[in-house]
């Protein structure tokens, strides 16, 4: 999910159930001297809740332009003087005062996929004072096999139906290896087993968000297994915020991890499930039912060309292309003296085969990524 536009924050900001859970947890840990870090603040709603509860100061850390919307809200609320805005990744924040409470929403639909937790671990080690609290500070991931015939037909088997006379069935395997955000609730759908918590992550001590877990699921309802429904729960102080199918709705979805070949199950059947996902990597899941095992991976969700992956191998020896050559010269000219217009002229007149549009985009990207704006 991208949160670069202010409107992207609507569903999360107006998720009253989530907000109330965070508010209740913050209320138990905030006093008049509290300094709170709102990590990945977005438009700042959790930071504003902390201030409303009496926190002395909030550090809002948000690398996207959404933080400027938070500034506007702060001005309207008259609390600007109690907030320090940091428009950069937490890894770039340098020295800050230690905080008593670090609040974050670094959890994707299936906990890990937004890959923000490594940044939380960095922030924790640098800025959380001894005895300070993380909200949330612990998370679990859960799954259960599901019967979702209509969804499966619409999203996966649909590829087998010719469209405009064209057979696209060779693309079905990409669909069967993709993960889908779903909100469980179709009356024709059923959970086929009690949920199993298969992975825990203690944010207080974790140094990696790598998931490599296995579990056994015992079927309690006959049906066809179309895949696994997955979700997470996060601990906020002494309460849990669950995004599961039987919990109150939130802006998070559950996820469907499909199997390629749906299969029948009976009460008492045991399914062996494995889930693997390295940080910033691919999800791989397997479901074994007796002698039959199926393994899916998001690695297979998109076509891969050898040329693309060659770049990821250890032996790859990169060489600058024409654009890279210009980028190197532009970066060397980021000396705090040359104006953007001068740099744009430099990019446009550089020898090489890139277009004017490419040179403009290149300069934009370099400024976005590497220019010190002093904020």
């Amino acid at each position: 999910m991208s949160y670069r536009q202010v409107v992207d924050h609507l569903d999360m900001a107006f998720d009253e159930h989530r907000n109330q859970q965070y508010r209740d947890a913050l209320a138990k840990h905030i006093g008049p001297d509290s300094v709170v870090m709102d990590l990945g603040a977005g438009i700042g709603i959790l930071g504003f809740i902390a201030l409303a509860l009496g926190a002395r100061k909030v550090l809002m850390i948000e690398p996207t332009p959404a933080i400027h919307a938070a500034r506007n809200v702060a001005r309207a609320l008259g609390v600007e003087d109690r907030i320090e805005f940091l428009n950069k990744p937490v890894e770039d924040c340098g020295e800050l005062e230690p905080v008593d409470c670090m609040v974050s929403v670094f959890t994707g639909n299936f906990l890990l996929e937004e890959d923000l937790l490594p940044s939380l671990f960095v922030a924790r080690d640098r800025y959380l004072r001894d005895g300070g609290i993380l909200l949330p500070d612990f998370a679990t991931m859960a799954l259960t096999p599901v019967f979702v015939p209509a969804y499966y037909e619409n999203r996966i088997d649909r590829w087998q139906t010719p469209v405009s006379g064209i057979d696209l069935s060779s693309l079905r395997s990409f669909a069967a290896n993709s993960i889908y955000p779903v909100t469980f609730g179709d009356p024709a759908s059923r959970l086929l087993a009690p949920a199993v918590d298969f992975f825990d992550l203690d944010f207080n001590t974790a140094t990696s968000s790598k998931c490599s877990a296995s579990c056994t699921v015992t079927i309690n309802e006959a049906g066809t297994c179309h895949g696994l429904l997955g979700w997470f729960s996060a601990r906020l102080g002494d309460t849990w915020l669950s995004t599961g199918p039987e919990a109150p709705g939130t802006h998070w979805s559950q996820v469907l991890l499909p199997v390629s070949e749906p299969f029948s199950v009976e009460p008492g059947d045991h399914l062996e499930v494995t889930i693997d996902r390295p940080p910033f990597g691919e999800w791989t899941w397997s479901v074994t039912n007796g002698e039959t095992s199926q393994r899916q991976s998001t690695f297979l969700a998109n076509p891969r060309a050898v040329a693309d992956f060659g770049r990821k191998t250890e032996g790859f020896r990169p060489r600058l292309n024409a654009e890279g050559d210009i980028a190197r010269n532009l970066l060397a000219a980021f000396d705090g003296k040359k104006s953007r217009a001068e740099l744009a002229d430099m990019a446009r007149s550089a020898p090489g085969s890139i277009t004017a549009e490419q040179s403009r985009r290149l300069l934009d990207n370099l400024i976005q990524m590497f220019a010190d704006t002093g904020s």
């Binding site: 076509p303 891969r304 992956f309 990821k312």
Partner: protein
């Protein structure tokens, strides 16, 4: 390499073929490995648990190249795949039904 030797893909490897090329991902090491057209054919034959001798003959037929050269290239690739942990020798290579 012994003609009767049989390799098989490591259970931790996922392969994706696009056109004549194959990309391998090793779940354990999170490393990627690319195979060209010849490598892809070798990977298919390894996946089918063919012996080294059978792979060698199949490649010689397919590419119409001198057998010693095909054999040398095949052995180089198999050794590289084995060293990278992407394949290993099959534990029990029983008779295969044609």
């Amino acid at each position: 390499m012994d003609d009767a030797l049989v390799f098989e893909p490591s259970p931790d490897v996922i392969a994706q073929q696009v056109a004549d090329e194959t990309v391998l991902m090793d779940l354990k090491t999170e490393a990627y490995f690319g195979l060209n057209e010849t490598g892809t054919r070798i990977w298919q034959l390894v996946s089918d648990r063919r012996t080294v001798g059978e792979i060698s003959r199949s490649l010689a037929d397919l590419f119409d190249a001198p057998a010693p050269r095909v054999r040398e290239d095949m052995e180089t690739l198999l050794a590289e795949l084995q060293e990278s942990g992407l394949i290993h020798t099959a534990v029990a290579a029983g008779p295969r039904q044609e």
